[in-house]
């Protein structure tokens, strides 16, 4: 009888007995993510479930990430299969208005320049001794695009998923702090006050409907390895632009996106188990992620300067900074910087165009990267 009582009491101490020093540290990290999400309003839709997932997975002996554990089930169902980021992408496509981009298709090029940081950071990560696939996962933080980063990392470097996801979403929300000093450092006062044409030719409804179809077919043929990413974002956009399936569009941008965001967040948090997460490698990943976003901004602004010269001074180089995929934050940053130097300069629509170009650019950059890796026999 006494023995049974002691055994029962032992069961109540198993959590404390199994506690590793890294678990309380990671519970604190989870708490910080919750604080950033709840109090500072930094990407709360993701940081709250990620933070709570990190807390859950660091309570030992519960077995939540072991075979059959509920977090493991969610992870296997949506992350290991890459389903969650793709479902989110349908919602992203349904929420994105590519109109400003179609009005001035030349600014598509800024969406390409805004991805150069991905490739440069891969080079840096390789230089610092990361393996080839780990370097790819680290570089993709520069896409400034959560679902793309999760898709690529979960497929080719799942052990880095927690660090890469947290870096991707945290830095995306820090774009208003990261970008302005770089924009100011790389442009002159005169360049910042360039006014761009307000009158542009809008795209017809037919062109807007054909846009996602053409991009899917052409992009899919060029880089088939990234077709799931490209296809889902374009499906969402086709549904929105066609207006024929309003219920599906609404569900994609609301109910589906909300449910998947919750499950995605909690299962990413579940990968942040202390012994796996608390490594020098994680700090390096966070540093490289920051570098990637800085390099994206540098390349975008420099490309904007090139377009300014080639157009005879009709492109404001600041909009190059919006070529990254952090939508619509990067576009707002450009508008805010622009009006600092000319109160009547209206750059927002051009910046939104570059920003949506960045969304397509980030997906295409990932797709091209995966197809090149396939071509080289790495994957």
């Amino acid at each position: 009888m006494l023995h049974a009582i002691l055994d029962g009491l032992l069961g109540l101490t198993s959590g404390f007995a199994s506690l590793h020093w890294s678990n309380p540290v990671m519970i604190a990290v989870g708490g910080i993510l919750l604080f950033l999400g709840i109090k500072k309003d930094i990407e709360p839709l993701l940081l709250v479930p990620i933070g709570f997932g990190a807390i859950l997975t660091n309570i030992p002996a519960a077995g939540l990430m072991e075979e059959g554990g509920f977090l493991r089930v969610i992870y296997e169902m949506g992350i290991a299969t890459e389903l969650f980021p793709l479902l989110i992408f349908i919602g992203v496509g349904a929420m994105t208005d590519f109109g400003p981009l179609l009005e001035n298709p030349k600014i598509f090029l800024l969406g390409a320049a805004g991805q150069f940081g991905i490739f440069l950071t891969i080079g840096l990560a390789l230089f610092f001794g990361f393996s080839q696939l780990d370097a790819v996962a680290i570089g993709i933080i520069g896409a400034c695009d959560g679902p793309t980063a999760i898709y690529v990392t979960s497929k080719y470097a799942p052990h880095l998923l927690g660090a890469v996801s947290v870096a991707a979403y945290s830095y995306m929300s820090l774009v208003p702090i990261i970008q302005p000093p770089i924009m100011r450092a790389l442009t002159t006062q005169k360049e910042r006050t360039v006014r761009m044409d307000v009158e542009t030719k809008p795209a017809s409804q037919t062109a807007r409907i054909l846009f996602p179809i053409v991009v899917t077919v052409v992009g899919g043929l060029i880089a088939p390895q990234g077709l799931p990413l490209l296809g889902t974002i374009m499906l969402g956009n086709l549904m929105k632009e066609s207006g024929a399936v309003a219920r599906l569009t609404k569900a994609s941008e609301n109910e589906i996106a909300n449910v998947v965001t919750l499950l995605l967040g909690i299962s990413i948090g579940a990968t942040m188990e202390g012994t796996a997460f608390l490594k020098i490698q994680t700090l390096l990943i966070l540093a490289f992620g920051f570098t990637a976003i800085c390099l994206d901004t540098v390349c975008g602004v420099l490309f904007g300067k090139l377009m300014c010269v080639l157009s005879g001074g009709r492109v404001n180089p600041l909009i190059g900074a919006a070529g990254i995929s952090a939508y619509p934050m990067a576009a707002r940053v450009v508008q805010k910087e622009g009006v600092k130097y000319d109160k009547h300069n209206f750059l927002l629509m051009h910046a939104v165009g570059a920003n949506t170009g960045g969304q397509v650019g980030s997906v295409m950059a990932a797709a091209i990267m995966l197809s090149v890796l396939k071509g080289m026999g790495i994957i």
């Binding site: 090029l109 440069l120 790495i378």
Partner: protein, 48 residues
Amino acid sequence: MNNLTFGITLIIVGMGGTLLTLALFSALMTILKRLFPAQEEAPPEKTT
């Protein structure tokens, strides 16, 4: 494949490929806009 070759290949082909693909999209969108131009807004009806 060693890391140097891998990195340089990815930087050149990746950056170049992304830029060329988006330039192609840009050209295709320009063509689409020419083929299917937006309808001019009808002038407002005159009232007597």
